[in-house]
Subunit: 136 residues, 2 copies
DNA sequence: CTTGACCCTAGACTTAACTCCAGGGATAGG
DNA sequence: CCTATCCCTGGAGTTAAGTCTAGGGTCAAG
């Protein structure tokens, strides 16, 4: 029903420090405190932490997750379009990274395939040559 | 034939600070110094900086580039296999990132496509629902 | 001789998302 | 009461690859 920070963290597979860090970033507020000052979390908080972690696994930064949470908290008065826009920005972001990594992969594969990988001296290694070429 | 740091940097499209930073990281040593203490670079240095930048554009970190340079400097006594190994480690690294980004892209595309993106309240927004779901 | 463009150093700052530390308090069990 | 285990705070440290700042020196032209 309600738990301390250690249990919450281990239930979500994150460290205690991470939970406190999210609190400092205003992503996750404890449901209350004990007399002794210990944070207590309800299962609502558990669900909120899972929300954050799922968003993270989709590539959203903590700052972006804050925006998502702002929309979610006020769902009734926020349009779908605002949520979708955040998702589309992130998608484009991911696509750019994919393109760039794909370019790197192609280029690196090409010069790596051309390298014999043998034990003789690398005096004519295609990889070093490609990096050291005169032109460009 | 020989130039100062500003010319070298602008020829390669990087900042002066970057050149000095590479020097601190032992990637690029000036060919000499003027009496007044100015760094001077030969066209060999220019070529070395281009080597570094090409390697960077293939995804190598500065630390990895140092290893590549170590091999290149001693090309005659280093086997192709050592060079190829570095390239293959980097390729695998890139492939892992591609896989992870691809996973994110698929997941995010799926929940984004399901969102209407309209102006009505996001009370049943598929994106927020996917992030906030009960299970998992 | 002065101006402006260029260069020097050492060291601090940036970003993101934690992670760790010191020094101490809370709580439960025996 | 003692101990173990948990928790608290504030602040510093981590990583990569720069970027910026302060305070000053160099050099060529006019
Ligand atoms: Zn070979
Ligand atoms: Zn080779
Ligand atoms: Zn909708
Ligand atoms: Zn929606």
């Amino acid at each position: 029903m309600s738990m301390q920070i250690g249990e919450l963290a281990s239930k979500c597979g994150v460290r205690i420090d991470t939970v406190r860090y999210y609190e400092k970033q205003k992503l996750l507020v404890p449901s209350g405190r004990t007399e002794g000052g210990y944070r207590i979390y309800s299962k609502v908080a558990l669900r909120e932490l899972r929300f954050i972690l799922r968003a993270k696994s989709l590539g959203f930064t903590l700052k972006e997750i804050q925006e998502l949470l702002t929309l979610k908290i006020d769902r009734e008065n926020q349009p779908c379009s605002s949520v979708k826009e955040l998702a589309e920005v992130k998608l484009k972001d991911i696509e750019e990274k994919l393109t760039e990594l794909g370019r790197m992969h192609n280029a690196l594969t090409a010069i790596t395939d051309a390298c014999c990988g043998g034990e003789e001296p690398a005096t004519a290694c295609s990889i070093l040559d490609a990096l050291d070429k005169e032109d460009s």
